[in-house]
């Protein structure tokens, strides 16, 4: 896998502690002034495997993950990735960095009326001119890779189907293929299994973990199913009320921690 970032200018370069590919410091977000959704999140993402972010609904998991590629604009803080502070990047450089961050969505977010292979190839849109994209003139090696990726996620033969003809599980496989098509250095997944049945959820998580490990791509995954998170993550972050209340390996996560994350008492019995 070549270094796709090339020689991008290192504006906003910051030195940060080695090892972690993504360091978040003091990240805060207020959609409405005075009502904080994220209150000073500080995190260092594990260099490989899945970092699972758990927490109750409405606690800012989605906001946190969307702040990383700035689909949501952070209010304050630093996000250090590839030697740059993403929070302060101007638009053009933000686009360059986004190319290195693959994203998988809860509701798949495929372009419904495009074919499966077009959806996968849309992962290369950051590298192809809009005019060529319009004519669907992608470099041959990209097209080959897209077909290979479809094989990898188990959808060979469906390349020319329209995305809206697929089942939920198949759509999420396309979503993963699209993210990997970016040849990313980081994978984000926002509740990737919440719209799927339990069996498909496990299949999707297995696929995502195996591919992320095989390609050495660290992944940050929002997930509200604690058991699923325990099973697939090698690092767990518990979020509650917009703050980190647990950060450690899955084995260290006790019922006591779960109570502090989700509150209440009786639901654990």
């Amino acid at each position: 896998m070549e270094n796709a970032s090339g020689t991008a200018p290192q504006r906003g370069a910051v030195s940060f502690s080695g090892g972690s590919p993504l360091v978040i410091r003091g990240l805060a977000k207020e959609y409405v002034r005075g009502k904080a959704v994220l209150r000073g999140i500080s995190l260092e993402i594990a260099p490989n495997g899945i970092t699972a972010i758990i927490g109750p609904s409405g606690t800012g998991k989605s906001t946190l993950i969307r702040c990383i590629n700035r689909l949501v604009e952070p209010t304050a803080g630093e996000i250090l990735f590839e030697g740059r502070d993403l929070v302060r990047l101007p638009r053009k450089e933000l686009r360059e960095v986004r190319r290195l961050i693959g994203m998988v969505f809860q509701e798949y977010n495929l372009v419904e009326r495009l074919t499966v292979i077009e959806n996968v190839l849309s992962g290369r849109l950051g590298y192809v001119s809009p005019f060529k994209a319009w004519l669907r003139r992608f470099p041959p090696e990209d097209v080959r890779e897209a077909f290979d990726l479809l094989d990898t996620v188990g959808l060979s033969g469906l390349a020319l189907q329209r995305a809206d003809a697929l089942s939920g599980g198949q759509r999420q496989r396309v979503g993963i293929a699209r993210a990997l098509m970016q040849r990313p250095k980081l994978l984000l997944a926002d509740e990737p299994t919440s719209s799927l049945d339990p069996k498909t959820s496990v299949e999707i998580m297995t696929l995502m973990r195996d591919l992320a490990l095989a390609r050495g791509i660290p992944a940050v995954v929002n997930i509200h199913n604690v058991d699923l998170a325990r099973r697939f993550a090698n690092r767990m972050v518990g979020l509650s009320g917009g703050s980190v209340v647990f950060d450690g390996p899955p084995e260290a996560l006790t019922d006591l921690h779960l109570l502090s994350i989700y509150g209440g008492e009786n639901w654990l019995e």
Binding site: E96, R124, L125, P130
Partner: protein, 260 residues
């Protein structure tokens, strides 16, 4: 149950007054405008004579007829194409879910101005500006097309799913690629439908702007009326109906070609 009112809704006196006022106004307008059965029967006699003069239609001057129809058809197609080309970028600029307010407002203003006047009025302006003939008609119909297609396209874009757009944006795609991959596929079928509808409207309007000298069959029709050539008028009217039917078939074919 004494004393309990069975009304399920409080009496609305302002509304009752409004209805009464409306009824009074209708009565006044009827009497004021001489809209009476007697007047209608007198009118029918004129109508009978007029209809009698229409038939049989006179197709002797068919060269004139064909020339006018051909010009109308060309005007309609050209104006639709130009209107479509101008509306695509304009509607993108006017879409409030993709653009900031300081861009959408001017774009929407252009559309509203284009839509404000009937094509015939715009045609009068263009006849004064660029002279008699098809050019004025084409420009007038183009303005009307921009007004309507722009509005319909903008509304279609504002109804798309932003989730699909978000995913394309997250790949680091430049704005135009986001449009090509995230927006266009969602609206393309509807755009084709709107454009064929506009072609249909332009076909009908292109037979009318000729009345004010902006080219097409309308000029011929108006001249025939003024010379009391009612049998030729009938021939023109029948030809226009034929052209609209052909236009209907044409737009249906366009839709089928694009599979919408």
């Amino acid at each position: 149950m004494a004393g309990v009112s069975l009304a399920v809704r409080p009496a609305n006196w302002p509304l009752r007054l409004a209805w009464a006022g409306f009824a009074l106004y209708l009565a006044y307008a009827f009497s004021h405008l001489d809209f009476t059965p007697a007047r209608f029967i007198t009118g029918l006699e004129f109508g009978q004579k007029f209809v009698a003069k229409l038939f049989p239609p006179d197709f002797h001057r068919w060269e004139l007829l064909v020339k006018g129809l051909k010009e109308s058809l060309e005007m309609a197609i050209l104006a639709s194409a130009l209107g479509l080309l101008a509306s695509l970028p304009l509607s993108l600029l006017g879409a409030r879910n993709l653009m900031p307010a300081w861009i959408t407002w001017p774009a929407r203003l252009v559309m509203v101005v284009c839509r404000s006047f009937h094509p015939v009025i715009v045609a009068i302006v263009f006849v004064k500006a660029v002279g008699f003939g098809a050019l004025a008609g084409i420009l007038a119909l183009t303005v009307a097309s921009v007004g309507f297609l722009g509005k319909l396209f903008t509304e279609a874009i504002e109804e798309i799913s932003l989730k699909q757009v978000e995913a394309v944006r997250a790949t680091g795609a430049p704005f135009m690629s986001v449009v090509v991959f995230g927006v266009l596929p969602q609206v393309f079928a509807r755009f084709i439908g709107f454009a064929s509808y506009e072609l249909d409207a332009n076909l009908r309007n292109s037979t009318m702007v000729g009345i004010v000298g902006a080219g097409g069959i309308g000029g011929t029709l108006f001249a025939a009326f003024q010379r009391f050539d009612y049998d030729f008028v009938c021939a023109i009217i029948l030809s226009i109906i034929a052209m609209i039917v052909v236009g209907e078939v044409l737009t249906n074919t366009v839709k089928r070609v694009f599979r919408v």
